[in-house]
Symmetry: C2
Subunit: 446 residues, 2 copies
């Protein structure tokens, strides 16, 4: 049986499990790949750092370039842009196929890397870049080739999903939930990439590129994080029959595609509402296939290693039997819409004076800005302030720009045609009453 | 751009949508496939029968063999064993790759067809055979190649899922729910294949073959249908925190694999419990990847057509760029366990006389047969019969054969050491009290 040489770049959480599984299940992988897969080296920064028993110290090297040049397949698990980018381009130029889990690199430099793979006639695989063991890259790149995807809605960041879960289940505030995630190792000491939505935005760009056969850059994704989410937001969501999740959303409209990452209200009967902790899920709506969902552990050394190894088997198959992985398809060449034109339902929570005519004035502002209202709920606000009421307005689908204009206008206060004795007066004499916007958030369809 | 000829066998619900989508989205498919896909003929039994506007009458022919011999890719959507089998073998021998949705044929003659494909160096694809648009065949055959699958648990028959849903939601009995499914077109006039579990068993055999890299025949699957399920069973399930579903289950144990299709109690917090109506879902537990789930519409012309077309794109890619689809992998060569050795949790409902010592006698029978009990609930039975009580026994994991022996022994009556005045007497004088077994059913782990 033929032998293929595999170089592993990086021996962290995922890399060490890749090495372990590839060694322990060598016979299984030989059957599936059609070749014996031999690890020709594991590149690490510090060869003297103690590693688990799975990693044979004799394979460790600080000379990444030497093992890259020797390999048939290069597995890049270093993360970050450089030197990962340079190593991948070098591997491809030398005739090796590449398996990577590097979402940041692909969302930033995907086209360059795809083009390098095509030019060198080698393959690029990256299942581990999105959703750990959940095979959604495979799904979009290959197994859904029979349909046109209309939208993707996913929970693709386990860290923020864990934090929001903790807030919802234990009533914690954001800072406390973040610390708990950090103590358990679910969040990094610098949590920026997760909590500010950048990790999810990179994944959103990768999935949207595949789904719509077009190029999407991470900067095309309108990205919001969860730092501003409060316990009150989550409680209000629950009361209204929603769960607050950080979603990645990509929608194909007739005018172009909309890309959004950020907090969103997911109805409790939507399949994403039950995705907890570090699990990921992606719901795909196809023109003819209706609604599909992929679900699985979104991170972790072992699950992510299986995604890497599936890609290694596929790359090896091509080396042995010919053919190649799907190349970048960009014939879709779709227009990317600005955030202001993105359409969604929205929920706006505000505090207004409890006066006659307020509801009419508020809903009037929405109407003037082309935002159609689906529901309004009015409640006395707090116990101490009997003169204020809390309004929760849920809209029909509307352009985000129109909703933002509505909010800006409301923030300046509303004109109510009453005087101090609550008598209706002429428009010229109308009182200007203050409106305090508490929050405004997208609402997903069931 | 190269052109590939595609022959379609059958123009029913799925076939007509395949033709429509392939025609309407011809440019998209050319980009994805790397070749223009030209329908060279649609074989039907009656060329004069009126078809939808999607099907060009000029392409219809009764001469299947002529278009098979002309084609690069043959799509078989006739169903049934013959003449589908003969046509597929003919297509392969002539050098065409084959895409089929024929689960019955594959579960019966899979090895013969796989071998014919390998001998002729053509490809066999069959995503549409299991779960409509849900890409679980792709998942097991390609995208999970990085892991060893330990178990599969799925809802893979939409008809029975619809019937059980109707029974659960509307309190209908089986016959009424079946008639409703027939009136809506969800069930055939002869519902045998669905309600007796054969359709699910064929799918279970296909998935288990892929998951465990071994040959599984439909007859290897221990199959039970839903005809005997009563409204009382469903009500009892709900009270105990379960949903009654027809599941397909395949488990890899150290001694071999267990294959089961039949009614099972699914805990309400298990992801399968929320799969309703004609939707399908398959939960896959991997050694390293943890729990994955695929979910999607399990039937219907459009969704199933997308699965067929994904396969056509894959087959076309291989024709254009080389390489081949995964061949049959049977290196696993796993032992298939008899039903009696299948292990599961079980729930047994029975009616017993309401006498002192009955609970002790009943649980003693379980213990003697090596069946460990997890819970017993005792209730007064009905209102009229104050002297009987209903016992619901839930076991820990036990061998099905041991549970069956327990039930057989219980059915003969239990010996209770009391006399007519409920005084404890010697064992020799013990009364034999009758036990009526109401139902016994598998229980899935959460």
């Amino acid at each position: 049986m033929r032998e293929l040489k595999v170089a592993v770049l990086g021996a962290g959480t995922v890399g060490s499990q890749v090495v372990r599984l590839l060694t322990e299940n060598a016979d299984d992988f030989a059957q599936r790949a059609g070749a014996r897969l031999k690890i020709c080296g594991i590149a690490v920064r510090d060869v003297n750092k103690p590693r688990g028993s799975a990693v044979d110290p004799a394979l460790l090297t600080a000379d990444a370039e030497a093992i890259i040049d020797d390999a048939d397949i290069v597995i890049e698990l270093m993360g970050g842009i450089e030197p990962a980018r340079t190593y991948i381009l070098r591997a491809m130029a030398g005739g090796a196929s590449v398996v990577t889990g590097n979402k940041a690199l692909l969302a930033e430099h995907g086209p360059e890397i795809y083009e390098a793979a095509a030019a060198a006639n080698v393959d690029l695989y990256y299942e581990a870049a999105v959703g750990g063991a959940m095979p959604v890259v495979y799904g979009l790149r290959e197994s859904l080739a029979g349909d046109n995807v209309r939208s993707i809605l996913g929970i693709v960041n386990g860290t923020t999903n864990y934090i929001l879960d903790e807030m919802a289940e234990k009533g914690l505030d954001y800072e406390t939930a973040l610390r708990s995630a950090q103590e358990l190792g679910y969040a990094e000491a610098d949590p920026t990439a997760d909590v500010d939505g950048f990790d999810a935005a990179a994944k959103c760009a990768i999935l949207a590129s595949l789904a719509f056969h077009t190029r999407v850059h991470i900067n095309d994704v309108h990205t919001h994080g969860i730092r501003q989410v409060t316990a009150a937001d989550i409680a209000a969501a629950r009361e209204a029959g929603y769960v607050l999740k950080l979603v990645a959303s990509a929608k194909h409209r007739s005018e172009g595609i909309e890309l959004y990452v950020g907090p969103s209200l997911v109805p409790t009967h939507h399949p994403l509402s039950t995705v907890h902790g570090a699990y990921n899920a992606v719901v795909i709506e196809g023109e003819a296939s209706d609604r599909l969902m992929f679900y699985g552990p979104g991170a972790g050394g072992n699950p992510t290693a299986t995604a890497v190894l599936s890609d290694v088997v596929a790359a090896a198959n091509k080396k042995v039997y010919g053919g190649h992985a799907p190349r970048e398809l960009i014939y879709g060449d779709v227009n990317i819409l600005p955030a202001s034109r993105a359409r969604s339902r929205f929920q706006i929570r505000m505090v207004v004076p409890d006066e006659v005519g307020v509801l009419c004035a508020v809903t009037g502002v929405f109407a003037r800005n082309n935002v159609s209202i689906s529901a309004v709920v009015q409640e006395r606000h707090g116990s101490s302030s009997a003169e204020a009421s809390a309004l929760t307005v849920t809209t029909h689908e509307a352009a985000q720009g129109d909703v933002e204009k509505t909010i800006k206008e409301l923030s300046k206060g509303i004109e109510v045609p009453i005087d101090g004795s609550q008598r209706v007066v002429s428009e010229a004499q109308a009182a200007t009453l203050p409106v305090r916007i508490e929050n405004f958030i997208r609402v997903e369809e069931a």
